[in-house]
Symmetry: C2
Subunit: 207 residues, 2 copies
DNA sequence: TTAATATCACGCAGAATGAGGGATATAGAA
DNA sequence: TTCTATATCCCTCATTCTGCGTGATATTAA
């Protein structure tokens, strides 16, 4: 079994060093390179192609979110792990959206760090249950929707790019009824086109 | 501090009983009612309005996914916890999408059960890192997209319901260029309308 | 030096859109 | 009981949008 190649992007020297020590002390991982900022790491990422990149979110210059985005773009197979002090912030969530596979808090101990890396390696996603909740909340629907059930049905089809005609066919109603629902949706959401309706619906998790 | 009201929907009598014992033994939760199937529980849910509903996924009659959907519809504040034997199945994932806030595996011990309920109570989402990964994968973009970056930009706007004209305006290109990109997208995705493109894009996480 | 990307152009027939004006029936709330 | 919300259906109008066909050019990456 080969050891997994890891890079560390972290501006605090002490942390960089202690992470390196911990990881190199394990028999499953080794640190290929450490960087105090993201720019240099990203420049080399196509060559280094590490298995895992540990990325601090608070970096000088390019921030960690953008760094993760670019790493995933240039080396999609590299798993990114967020390293952060803020355990339950929106930043972590943004990082996950940008492509990170999990996160480690900065004051994690030896065991926690290695276990997080192991989980990432075998396809898991280490994260606290608070973050997990934020994540799943993202595809829960808003129970306080102003729309009626039927209007919600229609809106879903609008969001799929369906035309009036297609909506009427799929819901077994006349085209006029579909248009009527859509007009009511526009009034309720205070918009006046399909695209605006979709943006608003997504923003408010109406669908 | 009031104890949180819990209902249990579980067809296996022994499990129902042991969950009840464990929960009633805690000082934070109490079991209001247990049900061997979802139908009865849902009929009463508007009246019982429990803080937490523990829902088995494999139920006779209505399955757990549908049960969760209906519970969240009729009593949105009730937190649903999936109870399952299959730790890492797609079913759990579907349950989370339907509105569950986390899950408990059936052979969890006393401590694990109480801890999961506590996490749910304080807004967390108990789940294994494998499930967490499935969940976050859902808003990661597919790195093997056949589309070029520009085409992806265009597709995103299509998915927002934007017209050719609007797309051209937002991307500062001519309408003809937008149409050109869209035509190329259709060829690559093997579709021939915006709505088909959107479905395919969502299915394959292209956007 | 090909292939892919990104940009731009024109014409056409038919469909879709948003805005305006209506109607009817049911069910539930005030 | 009257009002409101919901869900269904109908018509017209001017404008825009769509998909298809058939091109072109410049840059860049393999």
């Amino acid at each position: 079994m080969f050891k997994k190649k890891i890079i560390i992007i972290e501006d605090q020297e002490d942390l960089r060093y202690s992470f390196e020590l911990i990881i190199n002390g394990s028999d499953q991982f080794f640190v290929h390179q450490t960087y105090p900022d993201a720019e240099e790491a990203i420049k080399e990422i196509s060559k280094t192609k590490p298995d895992i990149a540990m990325v601090d979110l608070e970096l000088p210059g390019m921030n960690g979110i953008e760094a993760i985005r670019q790493i995933k773009e240039k080396s999609p197979k590299t798993e990114c792990v967020i390293v952060t002090v803020y355990e339950d912030s929106n930043l972590v969530f943004e990082g996950l959206k940008a492509g990170a596979g999990g996160y480690i808090i900065k004051n994690a101990n030896y065991l926690e760090i290695i276990r997080a890396l192991e989980e990432i390696s075998k396809g898991g996603a280490p994260m606290s249950s608070q973050i997990a909740r934020m994540v799943i909340q993202n595809f829960h629907v808003n129970p306080n929707s102003p729309l009626s059930p039927r209007e919600t049905d229609v809106l879903k089809l609008i969001a799929e790019g369906k035309s009036y005609t297609q909506i009427s066919e799929e819901l077994f109603i006349s085209k006029e009824t579909a248009r009527s629902h859509i007009k009511n949706i526009y009034v309720k959401l205070n918009v006046n086109s399909k695209s605006e309706a979709i943006s608003k619906a997504r923003k408010d998790h109406l669908i």
